[in-house]
C-alpha cells in the first residue's frame, strides 16, 4: 500500500510560538485516518501546511506524491478540504457557494450534489449570511463530497452538526472509504474518530504523541475492573501494575496495566470471584493519559464520558 500523506519532522513557528514541532504523520492511501488532539494542539496548522496555505519552516511533506507548496494547484484538483471554520460570502446563496467550490476544484457530480443536499437537509436557496455554523459546514461538506477526488482533508467537520447530521456525515465518510478514497479527519471528538478511523494519530503541543490502529493504541492504557468476591479482598495493593485501588470489604474497583492482567486474575481467582466487569479503555482514557490529568475513579469517569457524549449530541 502506498502513502497518501507523509510528513516527517515538520516544524512551523509563528513568531515565538512553535505551532508544529518535528511532527511526523503517515496517512496510507485508502484509509480513514483520525487526527486527534485538543484545541490548540496544532491540528489546523498541520492541515494548512498540507494544503500549501502555510509554508513549512523545515521538514518533509508529501501529499499524493507532490510538494503541497510547489504543486498546490495540481494537487488541489485531486483533494477536497473542509475548513474548521467555514467562512462563506454573505450575499451568495448556499447553492451558489457549492457550485463555486466544486467548479474551482475542477467540476462536481450534479446528481451527487442533489443527493447530498437532500441527505444533509440543506436549503440551497438561502443566503449564506443567514446560515448557522452547522449549515455553513453542510455547504462545505456537500461541495467536498460531491467532488470526485482521491483525498478528503476535513478539519473538525462535525463541530456544528446535530446528531442526525453527524450520522449522515459518517455515512459519507464510510462511502468514501468503500470507494477507496483517503480521508484525513481532524477532531477533538473521540467518539467520532473511534467510530470512523482505521488508524489514529494523536497530536499534542505540535508533536505526534501516539500513532497506530485503535487496537495498537489500546495496549497503551489500563483496563478498568470492578470485582466482587466471596472472601475479603486483600493483597491487591501489593501487586505491581494495579492503580487507583478502592477496596470496600469484598468489593474493589481498580485499573490494571495490560501486561499485569494475568497476575491480577490469578490473585483474584483465589478470592473466589462472584462478579467481575472489565471495561476496555476508551479514547477518553487514552487522552486523559496523554494530556496529563490522572484518570478519575472509574465510576465517575463513566458518568463523565456519558455526559460528554450527551453534551456533544
Amino acid at each position: 500500500m502506498t502513502d497518501a500523506i507523509t510528513v516527517s519532522d515538520l516544524t512551523k513557528t509563528f513568531g515565538d510560538v512553535r505551532a508544529l514541532d518535528r511532527l511526523n504523520l503517515t496517512v496510507r492511501a485508502g484509509e480513514v485516518h483520525g487526527f486527534l488532539g485538543p484545541n490548540g494542539a496544532g491540528k489546523s496548522t498541520a492541515l494548512r501546511v498540507l494544503l500549501g496555505l502555510l509554508r513549512r519552516d523545515s521538514g518533509e511533506v508529501r501529499v499524493l506524491g507532490g510538494d503541497p507548496w510547489r504543486d498546490a494547484v495540481a494537487l488541489h484538483r485531486r483533494l477536497a478540504y473542509v475548513p474548521g471554520d467555514v467562512n462563506l460570502w454573505p450575499n451568495l446563496s448556499g447553492g451558489e457557494a457549492i457550485d463555486l467550490f466544486g467548479s474551482l476544484r475542477g467540476g462536481l457530480d450534479k446528481a451527487r450534489r442533489e443527493e447530498l443536499i437532500k441527505r444533509f437537509k440543506l436549503d440551497p436557496t438561502r443566503k449564506c449570511r443567514t446560515y448557522s455554523k452547522g449549515n455553513r459546514q453542510k455547504v462545505a461538506l456537500v461541495a467536498a463530497f460531491a467532488s470526485d477526488v482521491e483525498l478528503y482533508i476535513l478539519d473538525e467537520p462535525t463541530s456544528g452538526l446535530d446528531p442526525l447530521m453527524e450520522a449522515v456525515f459518517r455515512d459519507c465518510v464510510e462511502e468514501a472509504r468503500r470507494a477507496g478514497r483517503t480521508v484525513l479527519l481532524s477532531s477533538h471528538i473521540l467518539a467520532e474518530v473511534e467510530a470512523l478511523g482505521d488508524r489514529i494519530s494523536i497530536i499534542r503541543e505540535g508533536r505526534i504523541a501516539e500513532s497506530g490502529t485503535l487496537a495498537e493504541l489500546r495496549h497503551l492504557t489500563r483496563t478498568s475492573m470492578s470485582v466482587e468476591t466471596a472472601r475479603p479482598i486483600t493483597g491487591l495493593d501489593a501487586l505491581s501494575g494495579v492503580h487507583d485501588l478502592h477496596v470496600d470489604g469484598t468489593r474493589a474497583r481498580f485499573q490494571v496495566d495490560a501486561e499485569q492482567m494475568g497476575a491480577v486474575q490469578r490473585h483474584l481467582a483465589e478470592l473466589d470471584v462472584r462478579t467481575l466487569t472489565s471495561t476496555p479503555p476508551t479514547l477518553e482514557e487514552l487522552f486523559m493519559r496523554h494530556y496529563g490529568d490522572r484518570p478519575e475513579p472509574p465510576g465517575d469517569r463513566d458518568a463523565e464520558a456519558t455526559a460528554a457524549r450527551a453534551g456533544r449530541a
Binding site: 494548512r48 494544503l51 500549501g52 496555505l53 502555510l54 509554508r55 498546490a72 494547484v73 495540481a74 488541489h76 484538483r77 483533494l79 477536497a80 478540504y81 475548513p83 467555514v86 467562512n87 462563506l88 460570502w89 454573505p90 450575499n91 451568495l92 446563496s93 447553492g95 451558489e96 457549492i98 457550485d99 463555486l100 467550490f101 467548479s103 474551482l104 476544484r105 475542477g106 440551497p124 436557496t125 438561502r126 443566503k127 449570511r129 443567514t130 462545505a140 482533508i153
Partner: protein, 540 residues
Amino acid sequence: MGAFTGTARLARLALRRDRVQLPVWLVALTVTVAASASSVTSLYDTEQERRSYALTNAGSAVSRVFNGGLAEPSAGAIAMAETFSFAGVLIALMSLMAVVRHTRQNEETGRAELVGAAVVGRYAMLTAALLVTVAANAVLALLLAGALVAAGLPVAGSLGAGLAFGAVGTAFAGIAAVTAQVSQSARGANGLAGAVLGLMFLLRGIGDGLAEPTDGGLRVVSLWPSWLSPLGWGQQMQPYTGGRWWVLGLYAAFFAAMVWTAYRLTDHRDVGTGMMPVRRGPATAPRGLLSPFGLAWRLQRGVLLGWGAGVAVMAVSMGVLGDEAEELLGGNEDLEQYFAELGGGGANLVSAYFATITALFGIVITGYTVQALLRIRAEETGPLEAVLATAVSRPRWMLSHITCAVLGTVALLLLTGLGHGLSYGLVAGDMSQTPDLLGAALAQLPATLALAGVVVAVLGLLPRWAVALSWTALIGCLFTSQLGPVLELPQAVMNISPFTHVPYLPVADPAATPMVVLTAVGAALIAMGIGAFRNRDLAL
C-alpha cells in the same frame, strides 16, 4: 432587573471599541470644516465678493442643490452653505454607522447573544449605542463651533451652527436605531439608513434647488421639501442670520420619535431577527460566477454600481456648472488666483475649471480603487482559505480582484469624462469639448495605477497593515494635491504623490513620459505585491 440594566457597562464597551475610530472621525470632520470655513472668510472678505457669491447662489439651481440656499450675503451664511451640506452628510454617516456597529452588527456576529445572556436589560444595547453616538455628536458640536469661531465667524452663530451639525448626527442616529431593528444584517441596516440619507439629501436638494430668490437675488427662500429633511433643518435654522433656535426642538422631537419607534420594535422581535423578509437566492450558480474572476466581479459589483451612480450624478452636475464657471469664478480675484496656483494660470477659465475638477475626480475615484483592492484583505481573513484549497493559484486569484478593481476604475473615469463633456456640451451648446474632457479623465488612470500598486504591494508584504496604510496613502495624495499648492509645500514633498505628475489636462499639453513612468511603477509594484503574496503564509 430593569430593561436598561447594564447600559453603562455596554456604553463603556462601545467607547472602548471605538477609541480610535470615533476620535478619527471627529478630528477629520473638525479639520475639514475649519479649513473650509477659513477659506470662506479669506476668499469672501469684501462686501462685493459676498454679493457676487449670493447672486451666483441665487442664479444657479445646481449650486443650491449641493450647497443649499444662502440666507444672506454674510461670511457666516456663506460658510454654512459651503460646509453644512457635505459635512452634514459625513456626520450622518458617522452616526448611523456607529449605531449599527453597536446594535445590529453585534447581533449578526452573535456577540449580542453572549452579552444578552449576562445581566443586561432588553433596551441596554440600543441605549448604549445611542448614548455613545449622541455623546460623540455633542463633542463634535463643540469642536465645530470652536473651529468656526477660530475661522473668524461670530460666536453666537458659530455655536448655533455647531449645534445644528450635532443635531443632524443625532437625527441620523435615531434613523439608524430604527433601521437596525428592521434589517437582519448590519450591511442591510447601514444600507437602509444610507438610503434614507440619500432621500433626505434629495428632498433638501429639491426644496433648495427650486428656492425663490428674494431681495434682488441676495437671499433665497427654500420650498417646503427642505423642511421635510433633517439635512435641511440645520440650514433653515440660519444660525448666522438671527437664528431660528426653535429648529433644535424639531430635531429633539424627531430623535425622540425615532427612539420611541426603535424601542417599540425591539419589544416585538427576537434577538438576531429582523422585520424585513430575507431574500433568497438561486439554488444553483449561474455560469458567470464559476471562475475566480466571476467571483471577484460578483463580490465587487455592488460597490462599483454605487460608485458609478454617485460619480455619474456628480460628473453631470459639475459639467452643468462648467457653463457657469465664468460667472462663478470671474470677478473674484482670490478664486482666480486659487485656480492659477493649481496650475491653470492664463488659460480660459472653463478649461481651468475642468482641469481642477477632473484632477479631484481622479483622486476621489482612486478611493474606489483602494476600496475594491482591500476586498483582497477582507477575503483573506474570510473565505479565501477554502478558495485556495481548490485548484486556483494565488496569483490567478489575486489578479482577478486587481483586474476587477482596475476595470471598475476605468469605467468610473470614463463616466467622469462623459458626464463632464456631455452635460457641459448640452448646456453650453458645444460638444467639441467632450473628447478633451474624456482624455483628461482617462489621463488620471496612470496615477491611480501607481497608487493601486502601492496597495497591492502592501497587501503582499504587510497584510495586517494593509487597510490603514492604503487609506493613509490615498489621504496623503488628496492632501498634497488639494492643499499642497496653497500651503506652498516643497516640490520634493509634492512629487511623492503620483497625482502631482499627471499633466493638467485639458489646459496643459499631454505628456507621455509621466504616464508611461507612472504605469510602469504601478505594474512593478503590483507584480511585487503578487510575488510577495505567493511566497508568504496566509495571514488569516
